[in-house]
């Protein structure tokens, strides 16, 4: 017990560093939640809105109608017609679809329709990041084809063609969600908890490294090893301190994420809160075990810092916190199975979809979540045992 207290005193003496480090990395996890927009909780089907920009160099009735149609149902981003502004918009992905209507397009289309030849080309750039831009592109081309069709068949002036096309293109295909019970688990909370794998791992293991740096200092270590204390009780006290560190980090992340992204949504049942807290606690235990292992290896504080950050980052990537696991190649998914992060992420996903299920099918889902957490816990125990064995053999070697 007194060893444990000493460990805690050492941690307290480094409180400034620990507060800065834990505070900063936990802020990283929480801040990522603000980058995620939560889906609306009602059952109305919301068509995807794309950010679009139209540069109308033509100024005819046809081009104005096309610009209007593109903007309809999408978010129009005002854009100046100079090369730099357009480059900015595309390179920074500010618009998903950028349409440039060249001068003389309207008259050219009318003439082409009368002759049965091809209309002048439109210029467009679609974003690489989502399919929303490509969808607007199809819609715009379809509308322009409608203008051409009416110009070729009913004829008349540009205004008449626009009126006819607008009337025909007004209809939409209504869609609605089936009336299934959904809980609308907040996407932001899910992202925060999944991304927390990295900050939790790095934060806990780095803070433990600070403790280990003090304990591994040569004079301290010589005195500790010379004492009659057994390797097991030494290891237990140290692991106790690691657990205390993990508990602080866990409390920080769960309180912050639940308060900011969970409670406000009102979409979570108490059981989900309990399971989420249990999942993060389990992962925090894994982190504490790894921190303990790094400490037992006797590596320097900097090396432990490096290991903690790299492993934390790799785990969070393999666990699907950066990109969804579904997008990862199979080989990486297989590697991910060998890390605790993927099991943790699966548990979070399982808890998230718990609210969507009928009561009858909740039990197997619950079982699956508990199984994931069990595997996570097994990782923690395995790593802890390796750490204990290594610490013991290292101590024997040094004596």
């Amino acid at each position: 017990m007194s060893s444990f207290k000493t460990c805690c005193r050492i941690l307290l003496a480094h409180r400034l560093y620990i507060i800065i480090y834990l505070g900063v990395v936990m802020a990283t996890a929480v801040a990522i939640g603000f980058g995620v927009s939560d889906a609306p909780a009602d059952d109305a089907y919301e068509p995807t809105r794309a950010s679009v920009a139209v540069i109308d160099r033509d100024g005819s009735a046809l081009s104005a109608a096309l610009a209007r149609h593109v903007a309809d149902g999408n978010d129009l981003v005002p854009l100046d017609d100079d090369r730099r502004a357009l480059q900015d918009a595309v390179a920074r992905d500010r618009v998903s679809y950028l349409l440039v209507i060249p001068a003389g397009w309207g008259d050219g289309l009318m003439a082409a329709a009368a002759d049965g030849t091809d209309a002048p080309e439109l210029l467009a750039s679609t974003s690489y990041s989502s399919a929303a831009g490509a969808l607007v592109a199809v819609e715009a081309t379809s509308y322009a084809q409608g203008l051409y069709g009416f110009a070729a068949t009913t004829g008349g002036g540009q205004d008449e063609v626009v009126a006819a096309t607008d009337a025909s293109w007004a209809g939409t295909v209504p869609a609605r969600y089936a009336a299934t019970e959904t809980s609308a688990f907040p996407q932001s909370l899910r992202s925060v908890l999944e991304f927390a794998t990295y900050p939790l791992f790095a934060g806990i293991s780095v803070c433990i490294a600070v403790l280990m740096a003090s304990l591994n200092a040569r004079p301290v270590r010589s005195r500790v090893l010379a004492s009659p204390q057994t390797g097991r009780s030494r290891g237990a006290a140290l692991f106790g301190a690691c657990l205390a560190m993990a508990a602080v980090a866990w409390a920080l992340i769960t309180t912050a994420s639940f308060a900011l992204f969970g409670v406000g949504s009102g979409a979570l049942s108490p059981i989900q809160y309990v399971l989420l807290a249990a999942a993060t606690l389990t992962f925090s235990l894994v982190c504490a075990s790894f921190g303990f292992l790094f400490g037992q290896l006797g590596i320097s504080e900097n090396a432990a810092n490096a290991l903690g950050n790299v492993c934390g980052m790799a785990f969070s990537i393999l666990g699907g916190a950066w990109m969804s696991v579904a997008l990862l190649p199979d080989a990486l998914k297989a590697v991910g199975r060998l890390t605790p992060a993927l099991w943790y992420t699966e548990a979070i996903e399982g808890v998230a979809s718990l609210g969507d299920l009928a009561p009858a099918s909740q039990a197997p889902q619950l079982q699956a979540v508990l199984l994931d957490l069990g595997v996570c816990l097994a990782f923690a125990v395995a790593v802890l045992l390796v750490g204990l064995v290594l610490g013991r053999s290292r101590a024997e070697r040094e004596i």
């Binding site: 480094h14 990522i32 209309a119 210029l123 679609t126 051409y148 939409t172 900097n302 490096a306």
Partner: protein, 399 residues
């Protein structure tokens, strides 16, 4: 002074856990990122919607709808018909059809999760979709809606022509005019290279490595402040003037970090095949000024004896969130903050580093790049000034 530089370089080069950050860390992460992105590129193709179709009289009465459905579910159908937005790989079919005799059976299948959406034609002949809210792939459903809308619009248009100008319909020209591909859209190329969704991650990774590299200079600085280390105590009683030691340390740390980052960049460029724009000199220039800024910041941090230099990794971890490293959510957060509070994002040195490289890739003028480099240089000067201020009263005479 050359001697001081050589001493600094040798000391740092022998400290493997410090050199790890700017050298090995980006290599590991770049390999990991490239593995992930290879998978993401493959899985960007749209998925096929499992569509339940209610085959009743209303469907039979809707002219051309059966043909449209057949077309989108046949093997050679291309999902959006857009071409340019599609990956080169095989295109998925828009929908897989499962026929149902009545609406109840279809709804039951939707609830059971056997189909993703149900299509039913109402009395007015308008197709309606009911979508399973649990289906994550809204984009695929949107593509389907688009195809159906296109069908609906063309049908309405042709009905209108039949009313206004029946003669055109008889010859078949009208249908051809609406269905031909007379209106085309050409790809608008605004940037020298097509936007690469993944280049940003690698730039942000280089920026993070540069930020972590600040630890090099911070560690070297510890060997200069009296009472921080035994080495510092010995060096400071020597005959070499303090400013020579200081300048030597900073230049030495800068050379180390610059060399490490250059290796990391060469690895990304030639092994991972990341695209870099501009000429080599400009890229190397950006790297030089980035590592100078990191050294200056690290040097400033190193003057605070009470805080372990490991805290730099925590701060870099937070700043990397705002350079868009951690996946799409962190990029969205960075971009939206840059729109609303640009000062906040522009004050992030890691964003400036990533942005300078990004500017070289996308803009045909150098002003954004120059602006980024100048900002970094100004930050370096500011950090140097602060370091000098802090070092001023830390000689033996003052203690």
């Amino acid at each position: 002074m050359l001697q001081s530089i050589a001493v600094c370089v040798r000391t740092l080069a022998r400290n493997a856990s410090l050199i790890f950050w700017p050298l090995v860390f980006p290599l590991i992460m770049a390999v990991l990122l490239s593995l992930i992105f290879a998978g993401v590129e493959d899985s960007l193709a749209l998925s096929t919607v499992r569509l339940g179709v209610v085959r009743d009289d209303a469907l039979a009465a809707a002219t051309g709808l059966e043909e449209t459905l057949e077309a989108i579910s046949s093997d050679d159908a291309v999902s959006t018909g857009d071409g340019e937005g599609e990956a080169d790989g095989e295109a998925a079919r828009v929908a897989d059809l499962s026929p149902f005799t009545d609406a109840e059976a279809a709804t039951a299948a939707l609830e059971a999760g056997d189909v993703d959406a149900v299509l039913q034609v109402d009395d007015a002949g308008t197709p309606r979709l009911t979508v399973d809210p649990r289906d994550a792939s809204q984009v695929s459903v949107e593509v389907l809606r688009q195809v159906l809308a296109s069908y609906l619009h063309t049908r309405t248009a042709i009905e209108r022509v039949a009313r206004d100008n029946p003669a055109a319909l008889v010859s078949g020209d009208a249908i051809a005019a609406f269905r031909s591909e007379a209106v085309r859209t050409a790809r608008l190329s605004l940037t020298d290279v097509a936007p690469d969704p993944f280049a940003r991650y690698y730039y942000a990774l280089l920026a993070m490595a540069a930020g972590m590299g600040a630890m090099l200079c911070a560690a070297a600085m510890r060997n200069l402040s009296p009472a921080a280390s035994a080495v510092a105590a010995r060096r400071l009683v020597g005959a070499t003037s303090r400013w020579r030691l200081l300048a030597g340390t900073i230049v030495g740390a800068w050379l180390c970090e610059f060399a490490c980052l250059a290796v990391a960049l060469a690895f990304m460029w030639f092994v991972i095949d990341v695209r870099f724009g501009g000429n080599v000199m400009l890229i190397v220039g950006a790297l030089a000024v980035s590592s100078l800024m990191a050294c200056a910041a690290g040097g400033f941090f190193g003057t605070f004896r009470r805080v372990s230099i490991g805290a730099i990794s925590g701060i870099t971890c937070l700043l990397s969130l705002f350079s868009g490293l951690y996946g799409p959510a962190s990029q969205a957060l960075t971009d939206s903050l840059e729109q609303s509070v640009p000062v906040l994002i522009h004050a992030n040195p890691l964003w400036q580093i990533a942005n300078s490289l990004y500017a070289l890739l996308y803009y045909d003028t150098l002003d954004v790049y120059a602006q980024g480099c100048l900002t970094l240089a100004a930050m370096a000067v500011a950090f140097f000034a602060l370091t000098m201020l802090r070092m001023r009263r830390q000689s033996y005479e003052q203690l």
